[in-house]
Point group: C2
Chain length 335, copies 2
């Protein structure tokens, strides 16, 4: 059955299933943050045929990814999520089940973090789009900013990088995965379709900061790629960095699947891994890595100047003072 | 010059002009509400060729209307605005000046209420769309809800109704306005293109409630039409109403321009006047009407039951117990 068969009221009833009862039915939703918290707000928009394809991406995965991208930004500010609103544009010929599955994907990702859908708007459109705004709360002294990395800070990276890009490649060209196991393929594809925002890191981070009496942490999420993330932090903080690329973690299966150059391309420029890059005093950094059960690594150090130098101890002659370039970033409107 | 000529970074720089410096440049924006306030959140999406036409509506007006619709929802909850985020979908062939004018329209409407654009997302799309999310704050005992109108409450309506619908008609068919003055035409068109959210009413309302020691007010904004608004409040509160249609204010020029039936059609079903409909004890209602300098009127009373009866004292035989019908509402996905 299509959306145009049931009209707006019935479609809204379907969507209300996924919202807390007290959130819907008025001009706006009400949330009650903890007193004295700052409010964190972020917006992310996905458009059919630009950020996903209705033909090849399941609505469940579109919903999950849309939510994950927003919650990752909340985590990247050091905040806890309070709720999201959903602006949804739909052509009349979209199946009702597609919309239902979209909301199932959004709530599946939200449930892990007890975060409700508190409002939204449903509109007719010639193209499907999903505009999510997420709200979170954070103690004002605990905000993670991009512009406060200091010389001598250790640079921590959580999780693995390049996995999402590898998964995307397997979705686009399934035949190139024939040399790696089905299980390895699924793990990579899942990294791309169902990224997990690293809100779990934040509580460990505060424990470490409390024990070290540290006042601030610099950082952001790596959604636009690890290279861009390190660039942004250094640029906004007015510092440089030395990165030991041997300390950066990527899926072990890359060794049997990709050339070394391709591995670094995926790791640095792949994007959408939604991990966190955090800069703090070395002692605190070591404690955090331990707390995260080695699901994080110190990959370098913040330096004076503005250069970001990549060092490879194993192959010093192959990557001699390679500098991360800025102009490889994806531009939405480039010709 | 087109968007595709300059790329995303330069377009973002253009947009950053319209945002406070400390709001942009990180994963999310930070806002600091007054302690112990509840957070109010609302979203509204406009799509080209559905809610406006890029061909006939200026980008300034699209921006103004998008902001006004959201701030009206904030006012309708009794809240003060804190900020908005803007999700913007753009085809590459849109003129840069169109985007600049859009932001000028948004900020022009926001400036009257000291409300900043604190974040957003800019994406490529085959159709222009504008997804605005607005945040406000309200003392928890001051929230205006739809579901708490009580039998005996007076029903206040602010401003005039039908003006926006009249303005739309003049935009669609300019020739039909030949019998009214140019000035009257412009006032109606302006009501449609530049509606003003009634945040100004809220402070007067609290003064009255404080002086009357009233604990709650029911209400909402009339963006979906006056008939739908009264319906919603009555339905959600489990009450009925008697409306004296002679007390409802509409633009005086309607008398020389429209038939009586047409007048009531515009007034009750036109929509987008973005006025407030508020229900409270009669004494408080009278005080509020006085404070608003008669830019508001008591149009009826909340009754037991569920019927909404329209009375016309001047023409009792023409509108004998006319009941507002629910099925005239606009449905976005109707065939």
């Amino acid at each position: 059955m299509k959306i145009s068969d049931i009209g707006e009221h019935k479609l809204l009833q379907l969507i209300y299933k996924y919202c807390p009862k007290d959130a819907v039915g008025d001009d706006a939703a009400i949330l009650n943050p903890i007193p004295d918290c700052s409010l964190v707000v972020t917006t992310d928009v996905l458009v059919d045929k630009v950020h996903f394809s209705k033909m090849t991406t399941s609505p469940f995965d579109v919903g999950w990814r849309g939510v994950a991208a927003n919650l990752s930004d909340i985590a990247a500010m050091g905040a806890s999520p309070l709720g999201i609103t959903v602006g949804l544009g739909l052509p009349g010929d979209v199946d009702i089940s597609w919309v239902d599955d979209l909301y199932q994907g959004m709530t599946a990702c939200l449930q892990a973090y007890n975060t409700p859908i508190v409002g939204g708007d449903l509109v007719r459109s010639s193209v499907i789009f999903l505009a999510i705004t997420a709200f979170g709360q954070v103690c004002p002294t605990r905000i993670i900013r991009r512009n406060c990395a200091r010389v001598g800070d250790a640079i921590i990276v959580t999780g693995q990088h390049g996995a999402s890009r590898g998964g995307l490649e397997l979705l686009l060209n399934p035949e190139i995965g024939s040399c790696i196991s089905y299980n390895d393929q699924q793990v990579l594809i899942n990294s791309h379709l169902r990224p997990k925002p690293r809100l779990d890191v934040i509580e460990h981070l505060w424990e470490v900061l409390n024990s070290e009496s540290l006042l601030s942490v610099a950082g952001m999420d790596s959604s636009d790629g690890l290279a861009d993330t390190i660039q942004q932090i250094c640029h906004q903080s007015g510092v440089g960095a030395v990165i030991e690329i041997d300390n950066i973690t990527f899926p072990p299966v890359f060794h049997q699947w990709l050339s070394k150059d391709k591995i670094w391309e995926y790791v640095f420029y792949g994007g959408e891994d939604f991990q966190l890059v955090l800069c703090m005093a070395p002692k605190a950094a070591q404690k955090l890595v331990q707390k995260l059960n080695k699901n994080a690594a110190i990959i370098g150090v913040i330096t004076e100047g503005s250069k970001i130098i990549l060092q490879d101890i194993q192959f010093p002659e192959k990557y001699p003072d390679l500098v991360i370039s800025r102009d490889r970033g994806f531009q939405h409107f480039a010709n």
